[in-house]
């Protein structure tokens, strides 16, 4: 069994799987059960300022989209930060941390955007012995209307300012949680770094309406005939989250800034992918909310098996794929592949044919007996047939070796060459 012990900005945990700040981490009862199940750490559900707690709606808080067999693919929520009294949370955090020394316990915070508020909350949590703080600059609903959450996260100057206050008034490690509801994640990430953040975590949830009730004509989740955008999460958001993680990991100004990866992590494989793109650990919420805390056990065994099979340590995995994330302009235009259909594996559904014939390049022939064959002289290697095929590995993309002739273009496959040197690139011509 590979050693999964994780050290993220000095916070140690027996594995890199943390529960994200969310309903699963809103009280001692849940957090202790999560630890018992094997979670390496938790980010305690966001605390606000002292005083009367926020209130939540009393109707549905969640909306969802489903795949086959009602498998939950995406979840959104309109729940706010903790609605429990601050002191209750602080007492429980302190009790839990004393009991579970080997697990990570980070406190998520969200208070109004003034130095006094931040100074006050940091002072109040100081003796909980928590391992760090996470600044919630991400929540896109409710709190944002009050100038907090994503309202801060969408303004890099605010992120930098608040982060600076936090570093000034606390010695705890500071993670800045970013909202994806921005045009470019590098601005907020760079601001966090400038403000002195020890790490960023991302993504928080995405502005979303999951569905519309076609009888009452209200968005879901519906509260008395009305709905509001909620924060979207779950497996469906993983690609968006991974891109943002990779952007931060590979950008010159933000590279090296530790990242806690969040967004649809459901299996060990998802976690490994986030970490390969540069995340030092991952945070999970929807998978736990869908299947319960036990899912972490598959994540632990799966990641461990994978690392053993690869002969890698956990630290070897982190950022391993980052150098391979590049800009389109640097992609090798002389990398030529063709789709190949394995006739043995083919179940003759014809989806590849329908997809290619109707929506791509008419490069698949349907022959008698429902035999499907790729026409190399038409195949542009778009991969759509692979993506729509219900049988894994039935259709694969086969690389043409250097020196081979591409029957579609009649050109010989040559050495690496990209758009920056391509004759059709106007900026190449302009430079001449």
């Amino acid at each position: 069994m590979a050693d999964l012990t994780s050290d993220f900005i000095g916070i140690r945990s027996p594995n890199p799987f943390w529960l994200a700040s969310a309903p699963p981490t809103d009280k001692a009862y849940n957090v202790e059960r999560a630890y018992q199940a094997g979670w390496g750490g938790v980010v305690w559900k966001t605390l606000g300022s002292d005083g009367p707690p926020v209130v939540n709606v009393n109707g549905p808080r969640y909306g969802a989209i489903w795949g086959a067999d009602r498998r939950l693919l995406g979840l959104n929520n309109i729940e706010l930060i903790t609605d429990r009294p601050l002191q209750v949370n602080l007492d429980e955090i302190k009790m839990v941390k004393r009991k579970w020394r080997d697990r990570a316990l980070v406190i998520s915070l969200m208070v109004p955007c003034d130095e006094e508020s931040w100074k006050d909350i940091l002072h109040r949590i100081a003796d909980t012995e928590a391992d760090g703080v996470e600044l919630n600059f991400g929540c896109p609903h409710g709190m944002a209307e009050r100038g907090m959450g994503s309202a801060v996260g969408q303004v890099p100057e605010y992120i930098e300012m608040v982060t600076r206050w936090v570093k000034k008034h606390s010695r705890m490690p500071c993670i800045v949680k970013l909202t994806p509801n921005v045009t470019n994640i590098l601005g907020p990430a760079g601001a966090a770094k400038k403000g002195g953040a020890d790490a960023v975590s991302l993504i928080n949830t995405i502005n979303s309406i999951t569905s519309v009730n076609l009888d009452s004509f209200s968005p879901e989740p519906m509260i008395d005939g009305k709905g509001t955008h909620g924060g979207y999460c779950g497996p469906a958001v993983k690609p968006i989250a991974m891109n943002m993680v990779a952007e931060i990991a590979r950008n010159r100004d933000t590279a090296g800034l530790p990242i806690s990866g969040i967004g649809g992590v459901t299996t060990w494989r998802d976690a490994a992918e986030f970490m390969a793109l540069g995340a030092g650990n991952v945070q999970v919420c929807t998978a736990a909310m869908t299947y319960g805390f036990k899912v972490v056990q598959e994540m632990i065994s799966g990641l461990s098996q994978y690392l053993d099979e690869k002969g890698m340590a956990l630290s070897d995995l982190i950022g391993r794929a980052t150098p391979n994330v590049t800009d389109w302009q640097y992609l090798n235009l002389n990398y030529v592949t063709k789709a190949r259909i394995d006739a043995e594996a083919c179940i003759k559904c014809g989806r590849c044919y329908a997809a290619c014939e109707d929506t791509s390049h008419q490069a698949i022939a349907m022959k008698p007996g429902r035999v499907f064959e790729v026409m190399d002289d038409e195949c542009v290697a778009c991969n759509l047939c692979v993506d729509v095929c219900p049988v894994e590995n039935c259709i694969t993309m086969v690389e043409l070796p250097k020196g081979a002739v591409d029957p579609r273009t009649g050109k010989t496959v040559g050495d690496y060459a990209n758009w920056t040197t391509h004759p059709n690139n106007p900026s190449v011509a302009a430079a001449e």
Binding site: A68, R70, I347, K348, Y353, A354, M366, R370
Partner: protein, 426 residues
């Protein structure tokens, strides 16, 4: 009442009425909404789908399954019924394991097809339970068409003709419409009087009059029908039953399986139907399976189906054979009857297999070696009627080209109606 399965002879009430009722009630339970969604999700929405090609009525199966998957079973039903107006019954009785489901790509890939038949039932039941008839009759054309036989072929033909605005009279020799759907399908496959409900639902199209108790050749002639109508459709089925042609066939206790099946369908209390203790069914088709399985459901002690050829030749599918054996029926292959033995009533049947003879004890014997066409109203094509002769069309079991399945009868009735319509409107 005690268990009387061991009482010799042919006796009623071998099992308590509630046990028999239960035996006949739960053959293939209907999907609930969630089950239907899950089953529908398995469909790959194939291009030029093999299931659709395999369906004699060419129902657009991927489309109707997608309509179920997206929460519109009523639209799915319309897709089904536009091709097959008896899609509800076909969902219950089609040998899907040798048609659509046999060629389902998931059957090929995993040995577990999308359950097309059950999905079809879910869709059609949903619509019919709402009492909705999704088609509207075209303006009256003034053309009159006679349909002989209110079975699947005749009903499908009548419905399609009425849809096009023609005035249709259906002549049925039995006291009830439905044909084999009403009298020939195993009772456990068509529960809750489904066949009759389906006919009533079908007639909502309007423009169809059914005259029961009226038989061709007895109450009217083909010539008189031709004289009074613009076209005639014959869907008269196969009213005759093949004889075994062995000594003892006339002994008491020897009867046609189709009559037993029909009686069971019409019986209000099935347990009151007498059945033998030791039953022998001779034949290898669906009729034989239905007679054998239902004998078992009624409480027969031993039921043996004997077929003269091998397992692979049996016209009952492997699925049906498995269903029979799972119901407690023994199937013997490669054995032909030599004689039926008994003093006044059957006591045993002698068979020959591989040159050796053996005897099976029997107090009841069902003959199920095929039905035949009775009468010759129009020219024949082999053993069956030609599909068209002048202004007379034929379809269903009586006509050439089908496989003696409900679904092929529907297809032929429907297609004949389209031809008649095209001819009358030309």
């Amino acid at each position: 009442m005690s268990n009387q399965t061991l009482m010799p002879g042919i006796a009623a009430h071998r099992l308590p009425a509630e046990v028999v009722a239960e035996n006949f009630a739960h053959y293939m339970p209907a999907y609930d909404r969630h089950e239907a969604r899950v089953a529908a999700d398995r469909c790959y929405f194939c291009h030029d789908a093999p299931c659709m090609t395999a369906c004699p009525t060419a129902i657009d199966i991927p489309l109707f399954i997608r309509q179920i998957a997206t929460g519109t079973p009523e639209a799915a039903a319309r897709t089904i019924l536009s091709q097959n107006i008896l899609g509800g019954m076909c969902a219950r009785v089609c040998p899907t394991e040798t048609l659509c489901e046999e060629v389902c790509v998931r059957e090929v890939a995993e040995g577990k097809p999308v359950e097309i038949g059950r999905l079809q039932r879910y869709a059609t039941d949903t619509l019919m339970e709402k009492g909705v008839h999704p088609f509207t009759r075209a303006a009256a054309t003034g053309k009159r068409v006679a349909v002989v036989g209110a079975g699947p072929a005749g009903l499908a033909c009548a419905h399609r003709l009425a849809l096009h605005g023609h005035e249709v009279t259906v002549f049925e020799r039995r006291p009830k419409a439905g044909g084999l759907n009403e009298f020939g399908i195993a009772a456990y496959k068509s529960t809750d009087d489904f066949a009759a409900r389906e006919v009533a639902w079908l007639l909502q199209i309007g423009g169809i009059t059914i005259e029961t108790g009226r038989e061709l050749g007895r109450d009217f002639s083909l010539a008189s029908l031709e004289a009074d109508h613009d076209a005639v459709f014959l869907g008269i089925g196969l009213a005759g039953v093949n004889a075994l042609g062995v000594p003892g066939e006339d002994l008491a206790g020897v009867r046609n399986a189709v009559d037993f099946i029909a009686e069971l369908r019409q019986a209000a209390d099935k347990s009151a139907l007498p059945v033998g203790r030791d039953v022998v069914v001779i034949g290898g088709g669906m009729t034989a399976v239905d007679a054998a399985v239902q004998s078992k459901l009624l409480g027969a002690q031993s039921v043996t189906m004997v077929y003269r050829r091998g397992k692979e030749h049996m016209s009952a599918s492997l699925y049906e054979q498995d269903h029979a054996t799972a119901s407690g029926v023994t199937i013997l292959y490669g054995a032909a009857p030599v004689r039926i033995i008994g003093q006044g009533a059957v006591e045993a049947v002698e068979f020959i297999r591989d040159g050796e003879s053996f005897t099976l004890r029997a107090d009841q014997v069902f003959k199920a070696i095929g039905q035949t066409l009775v009468g010759e109203p129009i020219a024949r094509d082999g053993k069956k009627l030609v599909r068209r002769a002048g202004k007379v069309w034929a379809g269903g079991d009586c006509a050439a080209g089908g496989e003696d399945l409900t679904v092929t009868a529907v297809a032929q009735g429907r297609d004949a109606a389209e031809e008649i319509h095209a001819t009358l409107m030309a």
